[in-house]
Amino acid sequence: MTEIQSSAGVPVIAAPPQEPHLPPKEWLKKNLFSNVGNTLITIMTSVVILSLANGLLGFAFGSERQWNAVAVNSRLYMSFAYPEAQYNRIWFSFATLLVLAGLSMAIWRGGTRMPFARLAKSAYSFGVGLAIMVWLAPLSTSGTVKWEIAAGGLLLAGFIFNRIAAQDEERSLSSLTLLVGTLASIIATLWFIPYGRHSFIGDRIPQVVSEPGTVAFSTKLPWTIMLFVLVGAYYLGIVLRDRLPERRTRSVLMGFWLISPIFLIYLVLRDPAFTMNHVLYTDIPLVLGFLVVGSLILYALTKPSLGEIGRIIAMLILLAGFGSFLTPMRMIIRIFLIALGLFSLAAPTFSGDKSTRRRYSSIWSGFIVIAGWLITAVNTPSTVEVPGDLFFGGATLTLIVAFFTVILSYPLGVLLALARTSNMPIFRLLATTFIEFVRGVPLITILIFFSVMLPLFLPEGMRLPEVTSVTIGYALFSAAYVAENIRGGLQSVTRGQHEAAEAVGMSTSQKTVFIILPQALRMSIPPMVGHTIGTLKETSLLYIIGLFDLLYVGRSVIPNQTAFIGSTRENLLFVSVLYWVISYSMSKASQRIEKRVGLGER
């Protein structure tokens, strides 16, 4: 659903040629009033827009609107029931992501130079727009005056920028400076303007009272620190950028981006209460055992001259892995056995000289350590006391479900796409059936199936939380679409590439891993970005399942609070704007990145 296809289908649209700079009068004439029809259209659209804006602003700022419902409940919206005493964990997680963001911005050389002339133009248009908006909005007189002054400030800024531009055409401002400046001024307002002045008090009998700026005042310090963290990380990145090998740094950073959400969720936010006994006497020996034995096996299996014996051993290990389901055994052992089987099956593909073999073994070791640690952490109960069933809710749940959907569906999608394009008819048949089936039914039916029916398919005594069932449903659904995007990429790899790889003697798996996939994945980046944004939007369907996502909080939880009954429209508007901001900025950013790395051109 949604826009999965749009970015795949639409050819990259060339930017219209830069118009020569026209004086305002001529510009108006050319673009708005070139002939009678044009003039009519201009007038009509202006009227429509102004009345629409009037309606929307009248709705948004009408006196009956309870915007307090949003302000007071901002905690519910963001982290739902996460205990306030443990907020440092959330701030720490946020700071970690910001450090990564800052480093990435520096190392990928993010940001562009914005000429002052352009800045002036946008300041002018924002100023004029704001002025009109304020004029249309039903604000109190003092409010109108305040906002008009703000609009005037913008116009003044535009004027100053224009003067600077007039002095020197080349003068420009880094977009990052602009970003930090904007963030800084927003955060600065936290120190002076008491947003969300109201809060609930009373443990049993909820009551809204006026307090001195709870939301703003409790978060102003952390937000300020966050800003400094971001800027500091950026400068650290600049320092590191020149001292480290670029490609390796980038791939390490990519790895951090992938692993840090899981690390933050399971270790920082959940704070598992590891029982030392269990960890010391069960988990660590298990992991160590698999690490040592597995590494040795893999080192042996990557020997180039091994031949078919390797495959047979791999099959035996895999068989043992699947067979272990017939006897009671720790799940972790089964997982590790199957993983070892898969690694051994792939071993001939990556066989080579001693250093290559050592590297392969060490990748296994890394895998087993990460996987063992994760499984242990996931299995350990949390120490953070959450008032409620769900650890996360609101925006956090939305983001986490989207993240896991992406993480699970991408590898699955790649496998499906490979199966669908392989020359093995049964693989093709299975993959095609799955993909076409999933693409043929609506997401909501799949989600309902997974939330209602999946428990029936599980062995007795095993119970999945609903979030997990639904996330699996999301991932399977999304995988079918990912597979189609990747298939597009796979098909764009020419026949000649296959032949060249075969001609130098590569096996099918080597050809796929070294030649075909890297090219195909690169080709499918633009549609995949679109798909990722689509996934984020689709998480709103959690509402229908009855999970406390952003939409559920806004649509059902808050409008039922005794103090804010009937505040549905405010909350819906807020949720819409939030979604809009996230997905709009994501798509803009990805477009910029695509343009920069020259993707999308074939």
């Binding site: 031949g307 000649g496 032949e499 060249a500 001609a503 003697g505 096996s507 080597q510």
Partner: protein, 262 residues
């Protein structure tokens, strides 16, 4: 003519290859694409160190034949034996032959996502299982050999056609093949770049590499070939030394072809 084993004893360059061992033996090789018979009972033997140029009008099955030799295409009847290994469904044999037979394509088919050096070292590292350092050293030598050592860190998209084709030759040579197959290596090149590729191929021929070349470059055929095989409609029409072929062809179809092309 078609059915005979086309072996020669002496070559134009005076090399006597009659004692040389057979390296490629084709016996009654046939191939169909649906209704269309692309190869019809091809039989030929190629000796070690021999340079064979395959000529013929387009659609005559030349490319299909040499692609059958390293099993990019599967023949359906007859036998192909390369360096003593029969081409069958045996995985080990296919692997062995692929790494013994290098191939250069009309469209270069370089790997666009890898640098020139990685293009050349990829197969030696992962297929020949060479240590990385050794593979890089060898790649540098080979790039030197084909005359573009300075382009090693560039990507294929940044090179000219001639340079790309030379990288492709280096990539094939990196596998240390005993046989090189060339599938119209100069057809996609601008005229001014053809020479640089042909020069590399000539050097290679002089160094004693067994080569099978499908080309339209008559000059190259005259100068380098030990033997010329002329094909039409999936059959071998005529086989002979360059002198014989260009000056005194026996078959009418050959004459017609030469009159059109020269």
């Amino acid at each position: 003519m078609n059915e005979t084993d086309n072996t020669i004893t002496t070559t134009r360059s005076g090399r006597d290859l009659s004692d040389a061992p057979d390296i490629i033996v084709c016996k009654g090789v046939s191939k169909w694409y649906g209704d269309f018979q692309a190869l019809e009972k091809i039989s030929a033997t190629i000796k070690e160190q021999e340079v064979v140029v395959v000529l013929g009008p387009s659609g005559s099955g030349k490319s299909t034949w040499i692609r059958c030799i390293n099993r990019l295409e599967h023949h359906q009847e007859g036998d192909i034996i390369v360096d003593g290994v029969e081409l069958t469904n045996d995985m080990r044999n296919i692997e062995k032959i692929r790494s013994e037979v290098g191939m250069v394509f009309q469209q270069f088919n370089l790997f666009p996502h890898l640098s020139v050096r990685d293009n050349v070292t990829l197969a030696p590292i992962w297929v020949r299982k060479k240590p990385k350092a050794e593979a890089i050293e060898q790649a540098n030598e080979l790039l030197e050999l084909v005359g573009i050592p300075e382009q090693a860190d560039k990507f294929p998209g940044q090179l000219s056609g001639g340079q790309q084709q030379r990288v492709a030759i280096a990539r094939a040579l990196a596998m240390e093949p005993r046989i090189m197959l060339f599938d119209e290596p100069t057809s996609a090149l601008d005229p001014e770049m053809i020479k640089e590729v042909l020069d590399v191929m000539k050097d290679l021929a002089r160094s004693g590499m067994t080569m099978m070349v499908v080309t339209h470059e008559m000059g190259f055929a005259k100068e380098v070939a030990d033997r010329i095989i002329f094909m039409e409609e999936g059959q071998i029409v005529e086989v002979g030394t360059p002198e014989h072929f260009f000056t005194n062809p026996t078959e009418d179809r050959t004459k017609l072809f030469l009159s059109q092309i020269l």
